[in-house]
Point group: C2
Chain length 513, copies 2
């Protein structure tokens, strides 16, 4: 058994069943080991950002670590933007990055780089496994590091000679760090704030946005009148009809400030204190009112559900909150719009669908319109590195082949990782992608004004227009083997959406806004 | 004047005329300043790897620094693979990377990362410009750093408040470090080796592969019998009919060793000692024979041409070498092949074309067949980070609108930065791309065997096949506004190539191998 095989055996033994991969020469032994070992499914991506974004989507939906296989420093670099998103999503991901043989590094061959240096800014844990006999043990440590709460990014660098050299045994998974219990003082402090009669917000993230955390948060809200607000960007929210309704904190700074204004107590449950996504001249970075007291009830890596349970007990909050009613929408007609599309998606959403949303300027329409749709999971871009939607949808579909995936996707962002469509076709995934094709970086037009760059002229505005030439998304999708159709009216969109949700395998709708 | 404007003025003042950009919110002031200042052309890429690869191509052909505009850590990360290639090409590139406002960093907003840490592994020079008043001076220092020999990557990080704050004056370019003169002992040592009567190779890189370095190398070869061999991967080679012919050191280790076997003296002129691209079990890392003496005549950053001149003088080498004859090829017929395509390209190559080659398994055919074609520049992938071809061709075409660009491109590699086609269409660039569509990562099939992973089975081989589904390159190109055609026979390829070379603006040929 060589190092690579001990690595694959260790992954399989720890329940890491999927490896999203874009391998090169230095990873050939790992690839070869897949046939000998079994138990690890390898999913090919044609670009590393697809690989890492799919790992994120898989980890969010499978609730177990995803692994990736990447080729040296530049291959890892190509995947880092979505590693950043995965890390902000607290998705457990183990990156396996091949490197030159240890003795070859000093020759500074063309692909040589400081792989640890490349990994570090976006990893919580980095190790180079320099000895084939310790690869199994190092891999097991990487998996445990990724599984440590709240879910982490671990990067294991595997020199080629550690891969092909004689290995020791594959290693069992060491004990995984549990979520830390919340101190009784934090519970007591939160209870005091909620009993004060002053305006309070329970600010939710992570496990607080999924059952049973959500039910507990609902009880606390029903008992105390505290408002429930979710972070602006979340890894996964269980929502829709029959669930505790939670609004998202708006992205625009002014709207976020307005939402939180008058709040005396902000209780963080699996969330971080709300901050502006970007700084703008003359606008604050912190979004809660200056006089608001921020209480750390449970940090993202702590036992968030346990803290909510303790708080609900402490408050005697035993009654469930009213649940979200099913909303019926009549379908819209005429010219295509994001809001019309949101209404149509909300009406047609299959039960237990997975909604991946990277709609940017279209996000608000989708969030608000799907609130009363059939119950679903809602997956967002967590780190702001655009180009996550199509890979995220790909990974979510791999994790949950029993559920429909709908990807609501801005056109500009979709181009960064457009190659994900090919993996969807190759794997026959039931992903329906709606491209909100406004032929521009629409969000930047607003941002240009927000940052006070009002003197921008023709050249500046040309940097935000994608209409010369217009992208033909039907052509792009078909080029990668994905069936697709255009919709310029809402009637056409209804027909396309029906076709998409009925299709076996992926489908793309080019919605011409 | 704000910091951003002082930056743009500094760039324009130093002759940095093109900025390849994929901006976000934190770069809006820079973008707005473009209209007020003039003198800097901004070229939009829909993915950062396109931006940085185009900067490389521009810098190689324009012989002046290119600049890029990127958005925070993840945006920079997306561009790093081609920054790696640019650095290995010694292309002078100034990356300008926006970051959060200095005071906003501590809030750890979703897009926050250690931007300096992201930049460092692939930059020769990194600086964060924290004060709007010093942005001009910092930018001038960055440009000078990029221009320092042999050509470097400088990354300037620009926090949003340094961009929008009140600036000082734009700064003039400080003195640029000259190429270091080569010590007389190095010349004398090389001359002794060449006079020894023992077998010698002049191993050429950088300026030694362009006029007048090449002419001088030719004279030395004519006088002493030393063989001229170019590095395997070069930023730019002036070659074709009427020029001093130079063979490239082969990529496969065994072939490279054979080429250099029997060599007693290897003289490095603008090159590094030849090493295996990857390590393979039981194959050496160094490619020159163990008994061969390696002489450092001129390092890549030294005065390579001056050293060749001094050496030629020392040797009394005044006669020019025989120049490459024009070779005529008859066109091939029947089934499409890389070699047939190479013959056709060699026959049809316009005078002074720029050939960008990322053909991987097809590279040898193109290199050898174009040796006697019309004079041309030959641009290669220098750092091994695949996905450089289409961006490189884009940047080269921006730099030299007077010349035709032909991009000879492997299909798997092309997918990494496929978005470059859109920029070619938008800018109306005369780039003809030939996709060598073998529906596989063909090079990996050989590598699997080379690394000794011979036991690979069905799963492993599936990781190297891109045929399920096959990529339809005509559809992909048209989706980005690029005219395209398929060729399954050599007759069809001849017709397509003629159409491509005649077209105004970009054209893509999907060559079905």
């Amino acid at each position: 058994m060589n190092g690579a095989e001990s690595l694959v055996r260790t992954l399989a033994g720890a329940g890491v069943e999927v490896c999203f991969a874009n391998p090169g020469t230095s990873e050939m032994h790992f690839v070869a080991a897949l046939d000998r070992v079994g138990g690890v499914r390898c999913v090919l991506g044609l670009f590393e950002g697809v690989v890492t974004g799919a790992a994120d989507g898989y980890a969010r939906m499978a609730e177990k670590p995803a692994s990736t296989l990447l080729h040296l420093g530049p291959g890892l670099a190509n995947g880092l933007a979505n590693v950043h998103n995965a890390r902000r999503a607290h998705a457990p991901v183990v990156n396996i990055v091949g490197d030159h043989a240890t003795y070859h590094k000093e020759f500074d061959a063309p692909l040589t780089s400081d792989v640890e240096g490349v990994a570090r800014p976006f990893s919580d844990w980095v190790l180079t496994s320099t000895d084939s006999r310790s690869v199994g043990r190092d891999a097991a440590a990487a998996i445990a590091a990724a599984m440590a709460p709240p879910g982490r990014v671990a990067t294991l660098i595997l020199p080629a000679d550690a891969s092909w050299g004689e290995a020791g045994e594959p290693a069992p998974l060491p004990p995984v760090e549990p979520r830390a219990e919340v101190a009784p003082e934090a519970i007591a402090g939160a209870a005091r704030a909620l009993r004060s009669g002053e305006s309070a917000v329970l600010f939710l993230g992570g496990p607080a946005l999924r059952e049973p955390g959500l039910t507990l948060a609902g009880r606390i809200s029903a008992k105390t009148g505290a408002r429930l607000i979710a972070q602006t960007h979340n890894a996964r929210v269980e929502r829709g009809a029959g669930r505790v309704p939670v609004d998202f904190l708006p992205y625009p700074v002014d709207a976020a400030i307005k939402t939180l204004s008058g709040t005396s107590h902000l209780l963080l449950a699996g969330s971080k204190a709300p901050v502006a996504f970007f700084a703008y001249p003359d606008k604050p970075s912190a979004l809660s009112p200056p006089e608001c007291e921020v209480h750390g009830l449970a940090a993202p890596g702590e036992d968030v559900v346990g803290a909510l349970e303790a708080l609900a007990d402490e408050l005697g909050a035993r009654e469930n909150a009213p649940l979200q009613m099913r909303e019926k929408h009549s379908s819209s007609t005429g010219a295509a719009s994001a809001d019309g599309a949101a209404l149509a998606v909300a009406s047609s959403l299959p039960e237990d669908a997975i909604v991946v949303e990277e709609a940017l300027t279209g996000a608000y329409a989708f969030m608000s319109r799907t609130k009363g749709a059939a119950p679903h999971d809602y997956l967002q871009i967590t780190g702001g590195a655009i180009g996550i939607g199509p890979p995220l949808a790909t990974g979510a579909a791999i994790a949950r082949p029993d559920r429909r995936v709908i990807c609501l996707q801005a056109d500009g962002s979709a181009m960064y990782t457009v190659q994900a469509l090919w993996t969807q076709a190759r794997e026959g995934l039931d992903v329906t992608t709606v491209i909100l094709n406004n032929r521009s970086y629409a969000i930047l037009k607003g941002e240009l004004k927000n940052v006070g760059a009002s003197s921008a002229g023709r050249t500046a505005h040309a940097m935000m227009e994608l209409d010369r030439p217009a992208l033909d998304w039907v052509s792009l999708a078909r080029g990668m083997g994905v069936e697709a159709g255009k919709a310029a009216t809402m009637e056409e969109f209804d027909r396309q959406l029906e076709a998409g949700l009925r299709s076996e395998g992926p489908y793309l709708i080019d919605l011409q806004l």
